[in-house]
Symmetry: C2
Subunit: 388 residues, 2 copies
């Protein structure tokens, strides 16, 4: 398969965007990505959209066609598709868009993610997010995505001595990063005590341990390397696009405290990229809860199993640490519009690897990793991007 | 890109399957496809699932992971994905599964489609199917998928003199075909008068002009040609996998009586396959309504625009006609479990091209075409399969 580059990015602010519809957000991100790439929409061969739940959230399926239509791409009869892998839908769309260019089918495509979550009451959104679990054996009985992660957190504390404070440190760190990201939903630092004292969502996780409900969209343009080299703009190389899966039900897993899908996707990605973990300069990981980031740092092999809590506590994963994790603010502070998240992670790598990350710039960032998880770990993607 | 073969197929009966859940149906079709291919699940590299609306129909997203889990594939941490393009989700999943093998990423994959529609009242299902239209400018105001097709039918009658009887002939023909298909939802011939006298859905379309609400699943195994040739079983070559799009809103189209997405996808497919229309021995087309088949036969270029009604009336598209269309019974009689339909069409070609279509076998069938449409024509896929 041939080499593929990211050549442009567009992202809306994430947050409660009551004045914008999903199509508004999708078009804004998509057209910004096309402009950023220094091309025009006539250069685009196809549109890929990651979306988890618009069918219920806004009673709209066929989102790919919708956005192509209102972005003015429909006149050219472009192929469009919507790809879903729970809240890893963004990375799933990126993976298949990458494949369409790597295979030679397309020369240049837009891949975006979008979700509009704030048009419904929070309780409905919680229920909709929980459709990523096993409906028949988990969510039907009242389990929610956050209650599942709460169980995982409890078990992690029991097995490895992870503390409530270590969980909270993840949120403190990611809010500190988000404060440096003008596109983040939350742009204020928070204190450890605030996390510890916040209302409970599912014990031990509180409000500030959980990613918020967000509207937003993000898009990038992918292009064959040959074509990208002829364009005047910046570019970043996709060194690996890897996916792995696991049982949907937590109860059928080997372990409650490790996501094998993350581990296997990481092994594949390192092999594809021909890289070792030490060469990764920064990582965007799936911190839908604070325990999720701890699991991710462990399952991706950056620290030993059980030491993810200490990684946050010690500052290892801070902007100035050995491996900056979630410099964008992560799902926690940048926001988590389900289908958009995987693409937003890629855009953070794009910003860092092209030296455009402003106050949160990682020095000499050459290799970045994005890790997007669906639900409670049944789907995981790892993408490795490199400065080109 | 390398050559790809279909090497096995599995399909559940379509109908009101109250005793089976979506996961039951998906597993049944998938495992049957694997057995039919003469391989084992350890040969499978990934699972692709076409599904339109399980998030609302049964409150379950992450269907790919669900089916992999309960089919016993999760232990191998296989990648899974759900792909949506309204009721062309099945063909969309097939297209991307094909690409994953053609590109060399995977050697052997299962691609299935599934939908469980009968767990909700019909009115809810009508609303859910209508999410494939433009929610903000069409379905919000009460438009449904069938009312849109009714407008198209009225306009077609006005522009081309298509008659109510010609519409009805499509249903009569497809029920006659369905009567020969043991897997079809409706296995009884119907009379012209029954179609004309059936209760109205949206004038001029009546109950027997519209595809039913169905549960069902269908799956095929795709494999690289090199690998397929080493296996003992039958195989069918994928000669073309093509997609095109159009505006989501009908109001923004060039014409109400032609689907440009179908026309453009057909042109691409013929080019990819190096075939002319005359070489196509049979076609499965998207007859979600009777007018839909008339449009399809025209837009695919088998007859001139405006002559699709006469094609049904004259017997040209009957089993014994010049171009047998919808020998399976089509969406109308075989049933239309949204995400499963595109795969069911492929399975009809598989049966015909391997000589296993029993009483509905087309003599000397060598080249077959499948045409799957999303919503009211914003997405169209054309696949061409050939006996190998």
């Amino acid at each position: 398969m041939r080499e593929v580059m990211v050549i442009g990015a567009g992202i809306t602010p994430f947050g409660e965007l009551w004045e914008s519809s999903l199509r508004d957000l999708g078009i804004q991100a998509g057209l910004e990505a096309i402009r950023d790439a220094g091309i025009t929409s006539s250069d685009i061969d196809a549109l890929f959209v990651g979306n988890m739940a618009a069918g219920r959230l806004i009673e709209q399926t066929h989102i790919g066609a919708l956005i192509a239509d209102f972005a003015g791409l429909a006149g050219r009869n472009l192929p469009t598709v919507t790809i879903e892998g729970a809240d890893a839908s963004g990375a799933a769309a990126f993976h298949h868009a990458y494949l369409s260019v790597a295979s030679g089918l397309h020369e240049c495509v837009v891949v975006g993610g979008a979700e509009k979550m704030t048009d419904l009451p929070d309780a409905d959104v919680t229920e909709i997010m929980s459709t990523a679990l096993d409906q028949q054996w988990e969510s039907f009985f009242g389990a929610t995505l956050f209650s599942m992660y709460a169980m995982i957190a409890r078990r992690h504390m029991h097995e490895f001595g992870t503390t409530r404070e270590q969980l909270a440190q993840v949120a403190v760190k990611n809010h500190a990063h988000g404060a440096l990201n003008p596109q983040a939903q939350f742009r204020r630092p928070i204190k450890l005590e605030s996390v510890l004292g916040a209302p409970r969502v599912a014990d031990p996780l509180g409000m500030l341990d959980c990613a918020p409900i967000s509207d937003g969209a993000a898009a990038v343009v992918l292009c064959s390397a040959d074509r990208a080299r002829k364009l005047p703009g910046q570019r970043v190389r996709i060194a690996a696009s890897a996916q792995a899966g696991d049982t949907l039900s937590l109860g059928r897993r080997r372990s409650l405290t490790a996501f094998d899908a993350s581990r296997v996707a990481m092994e594949k990605a390192l092999r594809l990229a021909g890289r070792s973990r030490k060469e990764i300069d920064l990582a965007e990981v799936h911190d839908v809860t604070t325990i999720s980031e701890i699991l991710a740092v462990e399952d991706l092999g950056f620290v030993k199993k059980g030491e993810g809590g200490r990684a946050a506590e010690s500052g290892m994963t801070s902007l100035s640490g050995q491996l900056p994790v979630n410099t964008s603010g992560g799902l926690k502070a940048r926001g988590h519009p389900l289908g958009a998240t995987g693409i937003a992670q890629i855009i953070e790598l794009w910003a860092q690897l092209t030296g455009k990350a402003g106050r949160r710039q990682v020095n000499d960032a050459r290799v970045g990793l994005a890790h997007n998880v669906g639900g409670a770990g049944a789907t995981a993607f790892v993408h490795i991007l490199e400065a080109a």
